[in-house]
């Protein structure tokens, strides 16, 4: 495979890189006045990259997936569908940002550019078939994310979030790198395919520790228990559009990356990783459910909710089957819509001076002051809880179906029983919105962009979403098939 062809395969990333560099120049000369323009152009760049991605994915010669750069990178349906989700989430994060930042002072042109850099990193992550590509992609994404978390420099909580994220993230990267070096030492290669071929049969202690460390580093990125501690603090402290971004795009990237590492590099070592993933999945579901009960801050609550949902996603991964991966991808798509929707609802929580509100009690009686927003919020909450007929149920349905098909009945039973614990705090939010007397704190009338986005997300997770199944299911099935 020639270098030209390889470059053609990574064209979405190249396009994004060039766009972000050009926009960086625009921002440097234009100053913060150009922030709005840069945001629009960044969204356009992401849109362009999505188009490139689609056209690549639809080319018949790339159907089964193709390696680029001598096995460093792979263009396949799995990576493409993950990237598509990431780009959509990033576009939404861009659309909601300007109004938020302007309310609290100045909007800066670096925000969209950092999102673009993060997207390039995430694109590399989901397409990586080599530990080095993986690490570079991961770090590019993480470094952008650290800056984004502390984007409001003057806000103590934001700076704290950035610092915490950075310190803990660096630790996780260290673990990951150490794990990679151990695996490399025993397998003699950083390529997933070679690792998969070399590490067959019973694992000796060395590569096993390597595997555990690699998974630990990745678990940090997807904020799975026991590496979740940073999540509530960072989600709470980071500006809300950034929290929305963190809860959606990087999660897709990290989960997809983990799936690829597990299936490609450690596919022959099912018994080694499966118990880890099963434990992490159940621990995330239970902790995400229990710890959320006492939260008074809606962003912290959503952080625990994302931990909880990651647990369900990992059930799909734990099966290690194509059906499980396909279920996981579908769940991711629904999860992105639910979580973005919830965060945009949080964005709409403003008092009369336009300051953001975050406490649960300020939601009291929202159904009487803003019925539309309240209904959307309730839809997202019930959907996150996985109550039918909302579409969030379908994600859970698919992962449990895959778990049952793989014969992992205890996992399925414990997981679904624990989902009832989680339902408690979701319906508590609905209770506050619908049953309590109005607190009258949220007085903003909402913003057109935000309202439209909320409506779109709410429609997707409403029962109408079921009509999308025949369209999405083949895509996720193809994505999963391209891994095996």
């Amino acid at each position: 495979m020639g270098i030209g062809n390889s470059l053609w395969l990574v064209s979405p990333e190249i396009f994004l890189s060039i766009s972000s560099l050009v926009l960086l120049m625009v921002a440097a000369w234009g100053g913060d006045k150009s922030a709005r323009l840069v945001t629009i152009l960044s969204a356009a760049a992401l849109f362009g990259a999505s188009t490139l991605l689609m056209s690549l994915a639809h080319m018949p010669e790339f159907k089964g997936g193709v390696f680029a750069f001598d096995g460093q990178y792979r263009m396949d349906a799995f990576g493409s569908s993950a990237k598509f989700l990431i780009y959509i989430a990033a576009i939404v994060s861009l659309m909601i940002a300007p109004r938020f930042f302007q309310a609290g002072g100045k909007y800066r042109a670096e925000y969209p550019i950092l999102i673009l850099f993060a997207c390039i990193g995430m694109g590399m992550m989901v397409s990586a078939t080599d530990m080095m590509t993986l690490y570079i992609g991961l770090e590019l994404n993480s470094l952008s994310a650290y800056v984004l978390a502390s984007f409001i420099r003057t806000d103590v909580r934001s700076s704290e979030a950035g610092l915490k994220y950075f310190v803990l993230g660096a630790l996780a990267s260290g673990m990951l790198l150490f794990g990679i070096s151990l695996v490399y030492g025993f397998a003699g290669s950083t390529s997933f395919a070679v690792i998969g071929d070399t590490l067959s049969g019973d694992l000796s202690t060395g590569p096993l520790i390597g595997l555990v460390l690699v998974l630990s580093g990745l678990a940090f990125k997807i904020s799975a228990v026991p590496f979740h501690m940073w999540t509530p603090d960072v989600y709470e402290g980071a500006p809300t559009p950034v929290s929305a971004f963190f809860a959606s795009a990087p999660k897709v990237a990290a989960v997809a990356l983990t799936a690829r590492v597990i299936i490609d590099a450690f596919g022959g070592q099912t018994s080694a990783w499966q118990q880890i993933i099963v434990f992490v999945a159940l621990a995330s579901i239970i902790l995400g459910a229990v710890a959320a009960i006492g939260q008074q801050n809606i962003k912290r609550l959503l952080a625990y909710s994302s931990i909880n949902n990651v647990g369900f996603l990992l059930i799909g991964l734990a099966t290690g089957t194509a059906a499980g991966i396909s279920a996981m991808m579908f769940y991711l798509a629904i999860y992105v819509a639910m979580t973005l929707g919830s965060f945009i609802c949080v964005l709409e929580m403003r008092d009369k001076d336009g300051r953001p509100l975050e406490s649960l009690s300020s939601l009291a009686g929202l159904s009487q002051t803003r019925p539309g927003l309240a209904a959307a919020f309730a839809v997202f909450m019930f959907s996150l809880a996985g109550i039918p007929p909302l579409f969030g149920f379908w994600g859970k349905f698919l992962v449990f179906d895959a778990a049952v098909a793989a014969g992992m009945l205890p996992l399925a039973v414990i997981g679904i029983a624990a989902s009832v614990i989680g339902a408690f705090y979701y319906i508590k939010v609905v209770k506050i919105i619908y049953f309590d007397d109005p607190a009258g704190e949220i007085v903003s009338t909402g913003h057109k962009t935000e309202n439209i986005l909320i409506a779109v997300m709410a429609l997707f997770v409403s029962p109408l979403g079921y009509l999308a199944i025949p369209f999405v299911a083949p895509i996720t099935a193809a994505a999963a098939a391209s891994l095996f």
Binding site: S367, Q368, P371, F382, I387, P388, P389, F393, F397, L398, F400, D401, V404, A405, L409, A412, V413, I416, A417, S419, V420, A423, F424, I427, V430, K431, Y434, F435, Y466, L467, I469, P470, A473
Partner: protein, 512 residues
């Protein structure tokens, strides 16, 4: 497609759905009228359904199917049992709307939307022919009911709504895992196919338990009934009517549609469990009902006792028992709904449900006293009312299996007479001692219009139950044929003697 060449079941679900969405945007009075018109239209459609139902025809009628969703299908169709339960739903719904006409004054549009959405789900549960579609609709009922109790309920509504939601959700989730396993095993999610699929007996044990967890909570059976009194007491009147009238029937319907025909061996294996819990329920909850001070709570406990008769009849594994159980379900739907309405009528006047605050209502509210008496008697199971037919048949069926259980169950019916008559005495008889009670007006025309149709239906079912039994006869026959291989041996070892045969004919003559 079906005898009407028209997807009538989809229409019956689509119409209230549409109306529910419109209701959200209407003002109070318009929402009331729209809801009433929609539910009445559905009642008419229900009559069309019944009139065109081909008794003795194919088991599944009005079948429609479109594979919209990949893994499962929009598959609807009804047999006689489903049709009777749908009839119960569409009959009670306009009454519920009428009962809320004056008592609900806040957020009327949302209230009506929740009820109409509820109706969509109830019809869907009884008509679903795909096991996953069934599950989705079965579970979805939690959301509107949660909102109905929580927004328009009484003082302690928050606790009641949480309890209702989490209890029933916990009961149901394990059933989903069982369904997933079943569909993997059988390779189809089509209910009529699954009904004739033989699962391995070892697997049946687990599957049965998973389904039991859900239906026992929904039913509700002792000891998982505790959500019901709370939910009933706190829900608005119409909420209680729909809860007692239709939602509880989903548990019985579940046993009838899933547990028995799909897992006959396991059903036989766990007969002791069902009988044991039901016996406790009949006696214990009747005794609890006897000492209640709150009218709604009393009726709620009586519901638990009546539902225990349903489970006893269902697990008798014979025609009389199962037919009786279905009739008890229908009858209880009408009677308990009517009793809750009766409570609602006086609650609207005095705003208390405490029994001691009333007394002597027969003096100043004669019309009310007569109707209340009729429903009290129907609840007791007086011959000539619907309650008698179902209970009598269930107990006959049960007697063939186990005379001791029948003895206990019959004792429960005597206790039932005790608490209902005691309630009636305290509310309607005696002197008018309270001034405010003295000032209570008799039934208004609206209230009369709500209670009279139920009274007529109760009498009809009591005097000529054949109308209601004819559609279900074939389906019960199919069910009995399906589970016959696992039917337990009775303890009576009845021998057909001359005298017995006469007694049996007599019983059937009375029942039909």
């Amino acid at each position: 497609m079906n005898q009407l060449d028209f997807p009538i079941l989809s229409l019956m679900m689509g119409l209230p759905m549409l109306a529910a969405i419109i209701c959200l945007f209407l003002n109070a009075q318009a929402a009331r009228w729209l809801a009433l018109a929609t539910t009445l239209a559905l009642f008419v459609l229900g009559i069309v359904l019944w009139a065109n139902y081909d008794i003795g025809g194919p088991q599944w009628q009005y079948v429609e199917r479109s594979d919209l969703f990949g893994n499962f299908a929009w598959a609807l169709g009804i047999d006689g049992i489903s049709m009777m339960l749908i009839m119960l739903t569409v009959f009670l719904m306009p009454i519920c709307i009428g009962a809320s006409w004056e008592s609900i004054q806040t957020r009327v549009g949302e209230y009506m939307a929740a009820f109409l959405f509820m109706e969509v789900l109830m019809i869907g549960v009884f008509a679903a022919q795909d096991i996953f579609l069934f599950y989705i609709l079965f579970e979805a009922g939690l959301i509107p009911m949660y909102l109905i109790i929580g927004i328009w309920g009484g003082a302690n509504r928050i606790y009641a709504s949480y309890k209702f939601f989490l209890y029933t959700l916990l009961g149901s989730v394990v059933m989903l895992i069982a369904m997933l396993w079943m569909v993997q095993d059988a390779g189809t999610s089509d209910i009529p196919t699954l009904l004739n699929y033989d699962f391995a007996p070892e697997a049946q044990t687990w599957l049965w338990l998973a389904f039991f967890a859900s239906f026992a909570v929904k039913m509700p059976m002792w000891p998982v009934h505790t959500w019901l009194p709370d939910a009933h007491v706190q829900a608005p009147t119409a909420g209680s009517v729909i809860l007692a009238g239709v939602l509880l029937k989903m548990g019985g319907y579940g046993f009838l549609r899933f547990s028995l025909p799909m897992f006959p061996e396991a059903s036989e294996q766990f007969i002791w469990l069902v009988f044991g819990l039901s016996m406790v329920a009949v006696i214990y909850t009747s005794l609890v009902a006897l000492v209640q001070q709150d009218m709604k709570k009393l009726i709620a406990y009586s519901s638990v006792a009546h539902m225990a008769i349903v489970t006893l009849g269902l697990f008798a594994f014979n025609r009389q028992g199962i037919e009786g159980a279905v009739i008890v379900m229908l009858s209880h739907g009408l009677v308990s709904g009517a009793l809750f309405l009766c409570v609602g009528v006086i609650y609207d006047r005095l705003h208390t449900r405490e029994i001691d605050r009333y007394g002597g209502l027969a003096i100043n509210m004669p019309k009310y006293a007569i109707l209340f008496l009729l429903f009290t008697m129907a609840s007791i199971g007086l011959p000539g009312t619907s309650g008698f037919v179902g209970e009598f048949l269930s107990l006959i069926g049960l007697y063939e299996v186990n005379s001791w259980v029948t003895l206990v169950a019959t004792t429960g019916i005597i206790l039932g007479a005790g608490y209902m008559l005691y309630l009636y005495r305290r509310v309607a008889f005696g002197e008018l001692v309270h001034e405010d009670v003295k000032a209570m007006p008799d039934l208004s025309a609206r209230e009369m219009a709500l209670l009279a149709p139920i009274a007529a239906a109760v009498m009809w079912m009591g005097v000529y139950p054949e109308s209601f039994m004819a559609p279900i006869r074939g389906d019960v026959g199919a069910l009995v044929a399906r589970i016959d291989r696992a039917a337990p041996e009775g303890d009576a070892h009845l021998k057909m003697g001359e005298a017995k045969a006469v007694a049996k004919d007599h019983a059937e003559g009375e029942a039909h």
